[in-house]
Amino acid sequence: MPPEILNAVLIVGLLGLLLGVALSVAAKVFYIETDPRIEQVEALLPGANCGGCGLPGCSAYAEAVVTGKMPPNLCVVDRSCGEKIAALLGMSVEEKEREVAVVRCRGDMSLDNKKYKYLGDISCAEAIILAEGPNPCRYGCMAMGSCVKACKFDAIHLREKQPPLVDRDKCVGCGACVSACPKNLISLLPESKRVMVLCCNHDKGKSAKDQCKIACIACAKCAKSCPVQAIEMVANLPVIDYDKCIECGMCAAVCPQNTILFIGENPAIAQLEKEKAEKAAAAKAKENTDSNQGQES
């Protein structure tokens, strides 16, 4: 090997070695003691760095918990870790119910009534810039999957001609999709809540129906039928007060547009049908007695 190259390699290599050794010595000299509990807490956390607790990552949250700035039960990914952390740090925790994301739009996209043909980048945030998106309903889902991309847990999926569906078992309620949706269609609801309004169209009945076959037409039947007055009409949409709601399912059963969703078997439908049958039977019985009377007279 020519000496120039050898020299160059040796000198740069030696320099690097010297600097490396000097730095490793400095790292020992200037070592900073951190609270060992921060690392322990971080090891208990799932390491998803989803931001569901409100901090950018698990290590930031671990530090906040150890320094007492935040309670230990805010992790949405692994609910059991709150107890473990509390046990480690000698704190007490309150149970927090799991929340699940809900896409509040049932938008029927089978109709060919788009305002224009969108050819841009498949991203809700970009599509919304152009006349509030190609959908006839300016409040509704555009189904371009910004929420799907935002989800780190594979819990929300696109469907054919329908808004994306949340996998209620996989969803941890971190809220990443909530902030990803430019139309603010997604919200977090406690898992146990079974009644939800799946439309965000604030327009009046007729124009809402023109935009989407299954939009809320603000008929207020749900509010009137609610036995505990838990529904209030706000800006042409029903708003459910979950503190009052008894989950009777009446609102979902009477909704002519099928806008209110009741998860599971709806007791009110059976009740309504029974009432209907009773009424019909009563009417028939009355008719019979009427005709009998007519015959007698």
Partner: protein, 191 residues
């Protein structure tokens, strides 16, 4: 002695590193939101630049020239500067945690700051002696700090100004930076 003072003042105003040589633009835009952190960044850069200029001058004169390896200067300077910045980061983290937190990501960025590499290369190009190099480094760093503090002062006031919505944030910062550079052109040719 006059030459040293001329080098110092020239580096601060006439050949200001940020506003006339356009070196070190990243921290100039990134850390110029608050005067306080601008001063902190300026101090860190001053410290690193003085060390880098001294170390790189010595390594160049006593190692590279001696072995005829001047063509390796850039790569060796990068090596030396990167190690120095790591070192400074450790020292600051130990001695001033508050400053370390406020500098955040920008401290590691000094590693790739072209102002620091610039001072090392300029000193060789201008054939300065060791003492002259050190004065040049301090002057350059003070000029950098000056530009940063002026910028931060203006941007603090901009927070309260009614800037058109589309120019809010970085766009207006770039316009301000351009105007500042034009202002500093007034010093050009004075030396």
């Amino acid at each position: 002695m006059t030459k040293l003072i001329l080098i110092l003042i020239g580096a601060v105003f006439v050949n200001n590193f940020v506003l006339s040589r356009f070196l070190g633009i990243c921290p100039f835009v990134g850390v110029s939101k608050k005067v306080e952190s601008a001063i902190g960044m300026g101090m860190a850069v001053t410290f690193v630049m003085l060390l880098a200029a001294t170390a790189s001058w010595m390594i160049y004169q006593y190692i590279l020239v001696a072995y005829g390896l001047q063509y390796l200067s850039t790569i060796v300077f990068i090596l030396v500067i990167a190690a120095l910045v790591q070192f400074v980061e450790m020292v600051i983290q130990k001695s001033a945690p508050a400053l370390y937190k406020s500098l955040g990501v920008y401290l590691p960025l000094i590693t790739t700051n072209c102002a620091v590499l610039g001072i090392a290369i300029l000193n060789i190009d201008l054939q300065y002696t060791l003492l002259q190099s050190m004065f040049h480094a301090v002057g350059g760093a003070l000029g950098f700090t000056l530009a940063l503090v002026i910028m931060a002062g203006i941007r603090e006031r901009l927070e309260g100004a009614s800037v058109p919505a589309s120019l809010k944030g970085f766009p207006i910062a770039f316009i301000v930076a351009g105007l500042l550079a034009i202002a500093f052109m007034g010093f050009a040719g004075m030396m």
